[in-house]
Symmetry: C2
Subunit: 423 residues, 2 copies
């Protein structure tokens, strides 16, 4: 069995590694367009900020781990230009053909708009990161504009401000982080402004025309789905590749995982396109397992994410109230503020927002803002979503307490109790 994996980062390498573990005899080849494999693009903002000194520090596993320990062939700087599924072959940019029995398409996503170069940057590839870093060091720009208020835009604004630049953030919608949540947006804007970042919401901006020494274009991403679609694979309504719960596309024996494809949202039940490294890793494992003959299911996503915005941890999972309403729920929302641990252990303020469905009492979503204590609350809420837990059960969870780590009535439980009174 010859398995070809297109894409050499999170989803692709998870798939290849998992397939190898299941099938020691398969021939496995990973084809990567770029020069590097197994590096974490999530670290790019920290390369810009200076926390990470080199792209090499973002590499998760060395190439040798795959080639020597896992017997996985790796080809870098090899770009696929066509998929001929009838012939079970890929065509590369140099004309070469690569035969496959099974294919895992993990080609990722790309910025919706190609930055022109010069003072305008995307923040997506390793080259983007290195070019931006060199620009910062050699050109010493003083004023930066960031177009886009998704997590990449917010992380970029944070990183540039931390380097001492004047930063202006432009976002075309009224709410940040694709969350349709005015409360969350308000809290993020307050923090950004308190840290000296100017924020302009609801103001479409062409990155190429923004007045600044340096512009980050984080206006949006597109799934790398076209080549497979041309070969006949169905796209979902989001424009990303449609996959079933086994990560199989509409082409038999062709699996997809990561930023190029959709996933089922565990709250709404609908296919969504929320490209994140966590999903890529897990869906990649499932794609790899099934390409190697297993029959495993990917359970779907809750859209759980966390992002550091000017020192504030901002985390979300599930649906906001507005999103829930659009999905046909009758949502209610509670927001509380509390300390994340004992005052005498330097407890920080934590804000917890919970959304539940009025008719069923089921938890639909959560947002948490604060410091290091945010992760515990958002992940507990994410587990509750996966279990389709109601707010009453959530309010009764037996959570851990000691003064250095939490409070006797955990903020998540306080929020759940408040929400319970509104149901």
């Amino acid at each position: 069995m010859r398995l070809v994996v297109v894409g050499g980062v999170a989803a692709g390498l998870s798939a290849a590694s998992r397939a190898r573990r299941i099938d020691p005899s398969a021939e496995i080849l990973v084809i990567e367009k770029g020069m590097r494999i197994s590096w974490g693009a999530c670290g790019l903002p920290y390369l810009i900020e200076g926390q990470v000194s080199s792209i090499e520090d973002l590499v998760v596993y060395r190439r040798e781990v795959f080639e020597k320990e896992r017997n996985i062939r790796i080809r870098t700087e090899a770009e696929v230009t066509a998929v001929r599924h009838g012939a079970r072959e890929l065509v590369l940019a140099n004309g070469e053909r690569v035969r496959y029995d099974r294919l895992v398409w993990a080609a990722g996503a790309r910025p919706a708009r190609r930055a022109s170069g010069g003072r305008v940057f995307s923040l997506h590839t390793d080259t983007d990161g290195e070019r931006l870093r060199a620009f910062l060091e050699t050109q010493r720009p003083r004023a930066a504009a960031v177009a886009g208020g998704g997590y990449i835009g917010l992380e970029a604004a944070t990183a540039l401000r931390a380097r001492g630049l004047r930063v202006r953030l432009h976002h075309d919608a009224t709410t940040l982080l694709n969350r349709e949540d005015p409360w969350l947006t308000q809290r993020i804007v307050e923090r950004l402004e308190a840290c000296g970042v100017e924020v302009r919401l609801n103001e479409p901006a062409d990155p190429e025309r923004l007045d600044a020494d340096l512009v980050i274009d984080a206006t949006g991403m597109r799934p790398n789905a076209e080549l497979l679609a041309e070969a006949g694979a169905a796209l979902g309504r989001t424009g990303a590749l449609a996959v079933d719960e086994y990560q199989e596309t509409s082409l038999r024996g062709v699996f997809a995982a990561g930023d190029c494809c959709e996933a089922r949202h565990i709250v709404s039940g609908r296919p969504v396109w929320i490209p994140l490294g966590t999903t890529a890793n897990k869906a990649g494992r499932v794609a790899g397992a099934n390409a190697a003959g297993r029959r495993e299911r990917f359970p779907g996503v809750a859209g759980t994410s966390i992002v550091r915005v000017a020192g504030l941890a901002v985390a979300v999972t599930g649906l906001s109230q507005q999103q829930a309403r659009r999905e046909g729920f009758s949502p209610v929302e509670a927001v509380i503020e509390a300390r994340d641990r004992a005052r005498y252990f330097f407890g920080r303020r934590l804000a917890v927002q919970l959304v539940a469905d009025r008719s069923s009492g089921r938890l639909l979503g959560a947002a948490v803002l604060g410091d290091q204590g945010v992760l515990a609350r958002i992940n507990t809420a994410a587990a509750a979503l996966a279990a389709r837990m109601d707010v009453e059960t959530l309010a009764g969870l037996d959570l851990a307490y000691a003064p250095p780590y939490s409070t006797v009535m955990d903020p998540l439980l306080v929020a759940a109790q408040q929400l319970l009174r509104m149901l």
Copy 2:
């Protein structure tokens, strides 16, 4: 309706406050044996260590909050000596009788053995804390012995070592923290020894005879259940008061909550006695609601707790493998070590142990050791226990990731994946 609550800390005040919210017209009286109400005994180790400068800093709400804002009468230094349930009255130490319609018994627990005074201390009441602190400051002891390897013993050993004393910990069993977990015990012992604490396991010790300038007796607790038992309330097999899911005792109209009573364990389904402030608060709320005429259920406990041992966060939830075996499961266990966040954000080592039932695949318990990242993993596991989640679902949870807070494949998921391979 006249509601009398016996006990003026976590469970009692939660009950009184909740009853007031539900019934604005009830007469509510709280009777407390000690001088203070609403203080958190969980803070005593930090008073000893010096992180907290006064018992007053451990007070959660001032007395006025209850008396003025909530219209709850408070009597301190009032000790109940008998319960005459036939007459619906309490007898106080001064001979006075106090009538009730409904009673919430939240009398807590006490050290199993009364420390003799002098150089031997319990660490339970506010007076214990103040006396020990004064002893440390005036007598300047150099060598301390701690008897008991439950969480109070471990916290006391940590606090005294942090003050610079030589510390020896004696424990009568082979495993610490009532967990029957050799792996967990081994990790804790290693940490204590690395911090200069001498540990003697499986060595029964009479605190009064230990050779040291200062001895902490943390050898065990007993529920304050006798007076209510004499009035006819049934005790459970653990020796604590038996209650139903509404926190009602076998005496009609008499509810109990907190360290004096049992709770149902959500994994084993059996009544257990695991006295913790978190449980006291939540069960107190339920007792108060039901005493005020509601019909709410307490969902039970998972035994979730976290304790700081010489700088190491040690957290458990559910059952250890040995405990699970005794409860009739066929448990399997996986242990992994991973970083709790990105290396370039100073990620610390985190160890995760998961226990699951081989036949059903259901998660039965977890233990997590590490730094601030421990809370997120143990609470997520606790939520999974409440949902009776299987390991496969756990391994597929959509958890939050950004380099300052976690890793792309969360340590909890890595452990779940490992356990899944063993099922």
